[in-house]
């Protein structure tokens, strides 16, 4: 029984990583109705910027803030320059665009910061949290930040004018435009916010998995799995989905024989497919009704 509780705790700790990433995935899905395959690479790039700033002697939280602003602006710029012209294009073109972006950013961060593994500092320290060997203070901090982020997003969407406008633009673009909402800028704003959240995820994840240009690939797949499990339309669901995926991964690793580190990605794959087949809207998502 102790093993079981311990594994669940460890699962929550890793789940925090996925929850963070899933939150970013859901944000952009809300804004543009597409899954951004380059999201992980964008987050990695932001994290590298933070790393560079810290190397130059900027204090951690300063670097954190600068990176956040940089990512927000960067996300908006990418949308304005590259993806706005594709807004009306078929899905295929958009997917191709995301893949191109993925290749460009991945290759750039490899070129600028090379492929050696880098240590990334944590603001929370890495001593055991509350005497438990399974959760470090950093992981506890990560869970905290994720929950705060979720709360902030909830308030933003619920109680601010811009949040309301963004929701309107996402669910009924035509009507939103009629009541005077600039839907095109709402999409850009969505990109900016998603990129900023992605950069937070990147900076929180980097101390755990170490910083290198490909660090996000596995995490992104898990983030997708978490987002799909929680429902792509629900930020709250994404966070819960993240924790569930983390717990599931740990339990499967402990109790099913032959499932070790090497089967991590196949588990995510199986999870994604199972959820999509059994409950396509996810646990907390709204079902989508097709108009005939």
């Amino acid at each position: 029984m102790e093993l079981f509780t311990n594994q669940i705790l460890a699962g929550i700790a890793t789940g925090a990583i996925y929850a963070c990433m899933a939150l970013a995935v859901v944000m952009i899905y809300q804004a543009i109705d597409h899954l951004n395959f380059a999201q992980g690479e964008m987050a990695t790039f932001s994290t590298f910027i933070a790393w560079q700033l810290i190397q130059w002697g900027v204090p951690y939280w300063g670097a954190f803030l600068i990176t956040l602003v940089f990512s927000f602006i960067g996300g908006i710029l990418i949308e304005r320059v590259l993806f706005k012209p594709l807004a009306k294009a078929p899905i295929l073109t958009n997917v191709a665009g995301f893949i191109a972006l993925f290749a460009i950013i991945n290759s750039c961060s490899g070129l600028i910061w090379d492929f050696t593994i880098k240590q990334f500092p944590t603001p929370f320290g890495s001593s055991p949290f509350l005497g438990s060997q399974l959760i470090s203070t950093h992981q506890a901090g990560m869970i905290g930040v994720t929950l705060i982020l979720l709360l902030l997003l909830f308030f933003f969407f619920r109680f601010t004018r811009v949040g309301l406008a963004m929701r309107a633009a996402a669910s009924l673009p035509e009507s939103a435009r009629l009541v005077g909402i600039n839907t095109s800028w709402m999409i850009a704003l969505g990109w900016g916010m998603a990129t900023a959240i992605g950069s937070i995820a990147g900076m929180l994840i980097a101390p755990v998995v170490f910083l290198e240009p490909n660090m996000m690939l596995g995490v992104l797949i898990y983030g997708f799995a978490a987002a799909v499990l929680g429902g792509l339309t629900s930020p709250f669901g994404a966070v819960i989905g993240g924790f569930l995926v983390g717990i599931f991964e740990n339990l499967a690793g402990t109790y099913i024989p032959n499932v070790g580190n090497e089967l991590k990605l196949p588990i995510a794959l199986a999870l994604i497919i199972t959820v999509l087949v059994v409950k396509p809207a996810g646990l907390f998502g709204r079902p989508i009704v097709k108009r005939v």
């Binding site: 899905i91 290759s107 929701r167 799909v228 990605l265 794959l269 994604i272």
Partner: protein, 342 residues
């Protein structure tokens, strides 16, 4: 958050492709065929090997084209089917001592079944969701191949070495026909057969059903088309052809290893399709040339930035020639027509 249920009119996955535009005329086809037959007689073995790979990748791109251009479904997971085909051939050749030519249909059938089964969940998915599921399949495949359980057959991380087949007609012509050249013509024959099969498939009842589903799923089902069957069938056919390509690839490269079949490869194939023109079968060979030769050129421009050069080129294609090589070909045809009139 909102009580209103979301109502979505789904955007088409891609622009409709007119049926006639999916193939080439007889004259052009014959010229290309003649070139493909004659050129290898005059070049070095390494170039023959590259041409063989060109044909093999063209087959894989063609398979994706049938799936996406034909039935309107996405796949970022073609590398997984290619890997299954390659491993089937390698294992049958090395462990069961089966003749290489016989392993190919087996690889094709196994991949067809695998694709058909994978198509089952794919039925429920459309657009981004399908891209996502296949993306996950492609990333998971190398890890599955490395599994300790299968190590006896797959060789684990090390992979398997495949013996290169000897040319059976070498004795007839002295030593003029090298192994590479034999393999090239063998691949060419199979490619032509598959190309003709694909063209006919798309012209057949099934092909029309694919296209009807691509253009409007709801209308197609109202016309009595079994949407579920044809969608999985498209997946199966596409996977089967990719499997044959994978098998040929294993024989040509003489080596299979899990890390040759990563998501990068799947992305290359996808890229090849976009560059060649979605839904235009002859474009497959243009796309294949792009994914074989452009990375070399990109590396020539800048070693570290090859990915970026690749990405930028892709963006250029999306913006400037959204229909890929097909658009270029059509413009060329138009110009030639004008010249003829004058």
């Amino acid at each position: 958050m909102s009580a209103v249920q979301e109502v979505v009119t789904e955007a088409p996955a891609l622009d409709a492709v007119p049926k006639k535009a999916m193939t080439l005329g007889y004259g052009t086809s014959l010229v290309i065929l003649a070139l493909l037959i004659i050129v290898p007689l005059f070049v070095k073995n390494f170039i023959i090997f590259q041409l063989t790979m060109l044909l093999i990748y063209a087959l894989a791109v063609l398979a994706l084209n049938i799936l996406t251009g034909g039935s309107g479904q996405f796949s970022l997971g073609q590398s997984a089917f290619y890997a299954v085909g390659a491993y089937t051939t390698a294992i049958l050749m090395e462990h069961a001592d089966i003749n290489y030519a016989l392993t190919l249909p087996i690889a094709g059938i196994i991949c067809f079944v695998f694709g058909f089964l994978f198509g089952q969940p794919a039925l429920r998915l459309s657009g981004v969701y399908l891209a996502l599921a296949t993306f996950a399949l492609a990333t998971a495949m190398p890890q599955l191949l490395k599994l300790g359980v299968f190590e006896h057959w797959t060789g684990g991380v090390q992979g398997l070495v495949v013996t290169k087949p000897d040319s059976p007609i070498a004795a007839l012509f002295g030593h003029k026909i090298s192994q590479d050249m034999w393999l090239y013509y063998f691949t060419l024959a199979i490619s032509i057969a598959i190309y003709i099969f694909s063209v006919n498939l798309l012209r057949s009842r099934s092909g029309r059903a694919f296209m009807a589903i691509r253009d409007n799923e709801i209308a197609a089902s109202a016309m009595g088309i079994d949407v579920a069957l044809y969608k999985t069938l498209a997946f199966g056919v596409s996977a089967g052809i990719t499997g044959v390509a994978g098998g040929l690839g294993a024989i040509a490269v003489q080596f299979v290893a899990p890390d040759s079949y990563t998501i990068t490869f799947a992305i290359s194939l996808f890229l090849g399709m976009v560059v060649g023109g979605v839904g235009w079968l002859p474009g497959s060979i243009v796309g294949s040339a792009f994914i074989i030769f452009v990375p070399n050129i990109a590396e020539g421009i800048s070693k570290g930035l090859s990915g970026a050069v690749f990405g930028v080129l892709l963006f250029l294609v999306i913006y400037l020639v959204p229909h890929g090589a097909r658009q270029v070909a059509m413009v060329a045809q138009h110009l030639i027509g004008k010249l003829k009139k004058n």
